[in-house]
Amino acid sequence: MGEDIKLMKGNEAIAEAAIRIGVDGYFGYPITPQSEVMETLMAKQPWDTTGMVVLQAESEIASINMLYGGGGCGKKVMTSSSSPGISLMQEGLTYLAGAEVPCLVVNVVRGGPGLGTIQPAQSDYFQAVKGGGHGDYSLIVLAPASVQEMADHVKLGFDLAFKYRNPVMILSDGVIGQMMEKVVLPSAKSRWTEEEIKELNPWATLGKPKTRERNVITSLKLQSDEMEEHNHKLQAKYQRMKEEEVLFEEFNCADAQYLIVAYGSSSRVCQKTVEIARDKGIKLGLLRPITLFPFPSDRIYELAQQVKGILSVEMSAGQMVEDVRLSVNGKVPVYHYGRLGGMVPSPSEVLKAVDEKLIGG
């Protein structure tokens, strides 16, 4: 066994990866099922090694606004929370998106609405993908389905956040956060120096030299025409993400007659459903979106030309199913199957839904 293979929880992988890729600051407030993120960071004490700041803020609202400050200085900053805490952060997130401040926000989703339950759910899809805060903005939303991807998406998230000057969200859930799997952590990198930040992020507010105009980080433009122009710039950026950053994974899609679309922990359950179905001779495939925004609409549209029907499986009352329907545009029927409030569907239960809704339907 290679020394680099570790066994750890998804939440721990987030923390370990953050230290290793040279994140400058973590600001958070504890909430189940993601508390191991800050616990791990505090135990590792990276302030003594990489110089990374780890701070338990007084609230989620404080955390997200600390990201505004740190990200505005061109630093790699992140927070993590779970559903109710992420709701508290929505004002901050729309300001970060409006002011084009890069940062990483991890949501280890639990069942809602309200205080809900601490068990896993996927009912924050709309909030993550369709806004959540006010105004026309989008987060880049990544949906890891394994502990390895929890670690990988920290790096990917920061790469995208700085490429587009946009907040990135990792939309995980209690299953991926709490389970342990094998993981190979990213190679260690030191944090950016002040000089590197100035060179890589010339927009960062690190003090004004005489050689240039001052940098301004704001989402406020009181003149409507300026604000419209700013909005068009943001929309062009989101369009570019749709063209360049879509990620997905396919299982047994090549000859599929029926298709499941599922992300995160649901996609793991559905992978097993596909295995069982294939054993029974049912030509079932699975498409797993890795980016939820931008959504793999084009590939789903292509597959709709081939399959007889699509089932969106989510631990929600049916949220991503709307994006699947928009992608398919009426070409084939699209159904939803889900469990709510912290319940995880079983692979055979999903197969029953495939049988009833897709094959029988």
């Binding site: 299953v175 389970m179 094998k182 055979s348």
Partner: protein, 180 residues
């Protein structure tokens, strides 16, 4: 090879750490592994369980509703999981505190009186390792060398002096497990 296991008992019995040691042993044997705990509002004395999967191919769902093997350490867990064992699968249980014994005829049932044995060995904390030994006797999915390496990986270094006593407990579990 794919082995899907549920380990269930009281919080504090070492259910989660036993699963972790098994998972680490799997890694040492170059297997794919997953370890999914019940993480509800558990506490010492409440119920706790963990699903461990060892496989030589990529693992799909880490959450299962039927198992190849159930390792059961209290009555509540026996009541809950006996029906979720695949036909032909294995049930290994400690009879300590069990009033309603397993009834299924289409599975292989093994009994290990680990709690009793741990008291005899004057080492109640190695209870879970006796159970692990019983499991490894019934299902030798990982070799002993890899289990010991897994123990080393899973225990913090300050506890490494406890490895010999854990090894002894595993061996004892292998000796005292009985098919019913």
């Amino acid at each position: 090879m794919k082995e899907e296991i549920i380990i269930a008992g009281f919080g504090g019995q070492g259910v989660l750490s036993m699963g972790k040691i098994l998972a680490y042993s799997g890694i040492m044997q170059n297997l794919e592994v997953s370890w999914m705990p019940s993480y509800g509002p558990e506490m010492r004395g409440g119920t706790a369980n963990v699903t461990v999967i060892l496989s030589d191919t990529r693992i799909s769902s880490p959450i299962l509703h039927e198992y190849d093997t159930a390792i059961i350490l209290n009555q509540q867990s026996l009541d809950k999981f006996e029906q979720q064992i695949k036909p032909g699968g294995c049930l290994i249980y400690d009879s300590n505190g069990i009033t309603h014994h397993p009834t299924r005829k289409d599975i292989n049932v093994y009994r290990v009186d680990a709690a009793e044995e741990a008291v005899k060995m004057n080492s109640t904390k190695t209870f879970n390792m006796i159970v692990l030994g019983a499991y490894l006797k019934v299902k030798p999915v990982v070799v002993m060398e890899n289990v010991l390496n897994g123990l080393k990986k899973s225990l913090p270094e300050r506890h490494h002096h406890l490895i010999p006593i854990n090894e002894k407990a595993i061996e004892r579990g292998m000796q005292i497990v009985n098919q019913i």
